[in-house]
């Protein structure tokens, strides 16, 4: 309509309810004065003092007045909203009034209890109530929304953390897709000899879990697969998975190895940390599950263009499938668990340890394989020459706790070095062991016991370095000289036959891509950030995406299992089949008429809740992901983002009301 001014809003009917909170408030402030003052406030049509508003009697009064006086807004002057806002919102609901039309003035914690002078406390209470009464006018009736969601879950990584989570979810009768990039499950733990602290044999402890997994119909195992793309949000993720061909019928193969013996090609065996060789068609290691062969197209002659069919000819059940192709599939899931594990710090980046130059220097994982009955030496601890080592050095903090590489402690190295001592003494009772450390970290009951047991063993020397870097390895008379500096800064050389390094644990090489794909943050060392380090440790910064095991920080196998099960618990309790997901009512909202599409709001949202509609050229808040913090509203240079229940209007009205105090007035 040309040149007409916008119409004024119609007046509200505000009810102010004063709670005496027993003696708490009633004795500390002058409620009569306050009531009289409240009467004078604009648009206030009823003021009622109640001895105890949160008691049933009190709630009845509130409910009755709402309908009797046709109240359109409610101010409750009582305790902290954190204590009873939900209580009174419920009363509004019962009175068929929108619960968000309530504002509480906290005159107990903020007046009665903290201002002894009754006069002053009363004045303060008036000020807070006036502010509440002026703010509540700007409240909008909010309707909590909810959405459909899929209860299915994607678990990335079939290590011990992922497997524990998958099993817990499956027991909860959930469909689980378990994606694993390698041809077998179990991750690194499965290739350990013994497990700390019980020092039981790893496969005895783990294989029952693995078997259960392989036979659980709820769990769909996708080996040789990786996540290609993730779209959507909590409750409604769409995930694309790329699966590499195995060229062997996984289901049918019984792992008889007939095909392997005839394969003419040899390649380094990554599953033994490259300490020995495997064929182009192979089973990663004895006992690897599923017990089925796999062809590595990078080595297989057929895939280099030669016409070799030896393995197919050898297979008693003709299960070789040269013509199998890579496949892609799309999954709908409600939540995602990242259990992508860790990688060891690449020791070649720290030349002082001579790793790669001196053959008898090993990493911890290499040593695990050396010590493992299914490893390259069938568990025999021997040098590359075949002799068994007489003097063995164990070196802690390789790349940890140093400004040069990782400043953090990798948490488990000291403990597994204790395990290594146990391996060595078990297999080579005559050997001398030198443990180089700076500050041993052996938390918990078992680790300490084992530690002190060994420290009293005269075959084992605990040598303290001044700092993690105060050590270097050299060749000397065909042996390994470990040169280190002690606490008194004296330098010593210790001659050994073999040195085993405990490299720092860092996020798996794939972590950055995964983080980008999932839109989550990373921390020091590339580990996935937690939603909250203390109260939300297994959820990431993106709702519906969880992280367990060493993907989130270095930790023990026991912790990985616990976190896997914890994540599963979070998912089971938040994604219940058939139940719609409730959304944050106090979320942000973009006014399309005002949004310029500058997209700077996204700089402020760690939840990736703001998307951009390039068609319209405006931003859009995804109410599923929005947590209602209001950062974007304060950031938006157009003020096109409206923070529900904490609108500019509401807060500005509080400001004007609070600043015009009695002190100021006179």
């Amino acid at each position: 309509m040309e040149e007409t001014r916008k119409p004024d809003r119609r007046p509200e009917r505000i009810g102010v309810f004063l709670c005496g909170c027993g003696p708490n408030i009633s004795e500390a402030v002058d409620l009569l004065k306050i009531a009289a003052f409240a009467e004078t406030l604009p648009e206030v049509v009823c003021v009622e003092s109640v001895p105890l508003l949160c008691a049933d009697a009190g709630k009845e009064i509130l409910k009755a007045r709402i309908s009797k006086d046709k109240l359109s807004r409610i101010v409750v002057a009582a305790c902290s909203p954190k204590e009873h806002e939900h209580t009174f919102r419920q009363v509004l609901r019962d009175a068929e009034m929108n619960p968000f039309l309530l504002q509480m003035a906290n005159i107990r914690e903020q007046c009665a209890w903290v201002i002894t002078d009754k006069e002053a406390a009363t004045r303060q209470a008036k000020t807070l109530i006036r502010a509440a009464a002026s703010r509540v006018r700007h409240h909008e009736p909010l309707e909590p929304k909810s959405i459909e969601s899929s209860p299915d879950v994607l678990v990335v990584g079939a290590g011990i953390a992922g497997i524990s989570a998958a099993l817990t979810l499956a027991r909860g009768d959930r469909k689980v897709y378990l994606v694993e990039i390698s041809p077998c499950i179990g991750g690194k733990a499965a290739r350990h000899e013994d497990l700390f602290p019980s020092l039981e044999c790893a496969s005895c402890v783990l294989s029952p879990k693995f078997d259960e997994l392989l036979h659980n119909s709820q769990i769909e195992l996708l080996l040789l697969s990786r996540v290609k793309e993730v779209l959507g949000y909590f409750g409604n993720f769409t995930v694309t998975i790329d699966r590499q061909a195995r060229y062997v019928d996984e289901a049918g193969c019984i792992g008889c190895a007939a095909c392997i013996d005839v394969c003419p090609v040899k390649a380094l065996n990554e599953y033994n940390e490259g300490l020995d060789r495997r064929r182009a068609i192979y089973i990663p290691y004895p006992g690897a599950l599923p017990n089925a062969a796999v062809i590595d197209p990078r080595h297989c002659l057929r895939f280099q263009g030669e016409d070799c069919t030896r393995c197919r000819d050898a297979c008693p059940m003709s299960l070789i499938r040269y013509d199998e192709t890579d496949t892609t599939r799309t999954l709908q899931v409600g939540a995602i668990l990242l259990a992508v594990g860790f990688d060891l710090f690449d020791v070649e980046n720290a030349p002082r340890y001579a790793y790669g130059r001196i053959p008898e220097v090993y990493t911890s994982l290499e040593f695990e394989r050396l010590a493992n009955a299914s490893g390259p030496t069938q568990g025999k601890l021997q040098q590359k020459t075949g002799d068994s080592p007489g003097r063995i050095a164990l070196i802690a903090c390789v790349g940890s706790r140093t400004t040069a590489h990782h400043t953090y402690c990798s948490a488990v190295c000291c403990t597994y070095l204790m395990k290594f001592i146990h391996y060595i003494l078990k297999k080579l009772p005559e050997a001398r062991i030198f443990l180089f450390h700076s500050d041993l970290c052996l938390p918990g009951r078992e680790a300490q016991q084992i530690g002190s047991k060994f420290s009293s063993d005269k075959r084992v020397a605990f040598l303290r370095m001044k700092t993690p870097e105060a050590i270097s390895i050299h060749e000397k008379e065909g042996k390994i000289a470990i040169r280190y500096m002690d606490l008194l800064e004296r330098s010593h050389d210790v001659l050994c036959d073999m040195a085993i390094l405990a490299p720092a644990m860092e996020a798996s090489k794939s972590a950055p891509d995964t983080a980008k794909q999932m839109g989550i943050l990373q921390e020091k060392g590339g580990f996935f950030s937690k939603e909250h380090p203390i109260i939300a440790p297994v959820s990431t910064t993106f709702q519906g995406i969880y992280a367990a095991g060493c993907a989130r920080e270095p930790g023990t196998i026991e912790q990985a299992v616990a976190q896997g099960e914890a994540s599963a618990g979070r998912i089971l309790s938040s994604l219940i089949p058939g139940i719609r997901l409730p959304l944050e009512a106090e979320s942000a909202h973009v006014d399309e008429d005002l949004c310029s599409g500058c997209r700077l709001c996204r700089n402020g949202c760690i939840y990736r809740a703001i998307t951009y509609d390039s068609e319209k050229g405006t931003a859009l808040v995804n109410e599923v992901l929005c947590k209602g913090c209001g950062v974007c509203a304060a950031l938006c240079p157009s003020r096109a983002i409206h923070a529900r229940h904490f609108s500019d209007e509401a807060i500005l009205s509080e400001i004007s009301s609070l600043t015009c105090t009695e002190e100021k007035e006179h």
Partner: protein, 140 residues
């Protein structure tokens, strides 16, 4: 003559500092009535315009209290606040307003003592620097 009673607006984040205020209440700390609290979900909701408007409307001081860095309920909201705060601090003197009329601090839900201490410190600081002058050019 009546002594100068400053008005100080305090923005409290819902998760840490407002809790801190409540626990100060529960432990019956004595707090200066000069401080007028406003609850926001996150200190990151505090629009610099709120700060300037508080001064314009007659506040002599403004307090912003949030979760400690690293323990923000929304992870980085308080860092956004810190960035804005330091930028406003660069601008206030240009607007002829003393830097120390605006203060940002971190209070966790347990720190009732710290909460009380901050309020006291701010109040006597503002009492010593006196009231914030209004605009001289009778601007509305």
């Amino acid at each position: 003559m009546k002594s100068f009673e400053p008005v100080i607006i305090a923005f409290l984040c819902n998760w840490c500092s407002y809790e801190g205020a409540d626990s100060a209440g529960r432990s019956r700390k004595e707090l200066p009535p000069n401080v007028k609290p406003i609850r926001v979900m996150c200190s990151g909701r505090v629009d610099p315009e709120f700060v300037l408007e508080s001064f314009q409307k007659g506040a002599d001081g403004v307090l912003i209290l949030g979760c400690h860095p690293g323990s923000c309920h929304y992870r980085e909201g308080n860092i956004q606040t810190l960035r804005r705060y330091l930028l406003i601090q660069n601008m206030l003197p240009q607007l002829g307003i003393r830097r120390d009329r605006l203060m940002l601090d971190w209070v966790s839900s347990g720190e009732s003592d710290k909460f009380a201490a901050i309020l006291d410190r701010m109040t006597c600081r503002i009492k010593t620097v006196g009231p914030l002058p209004g605009p001289t050019g009778n601007l509305k």
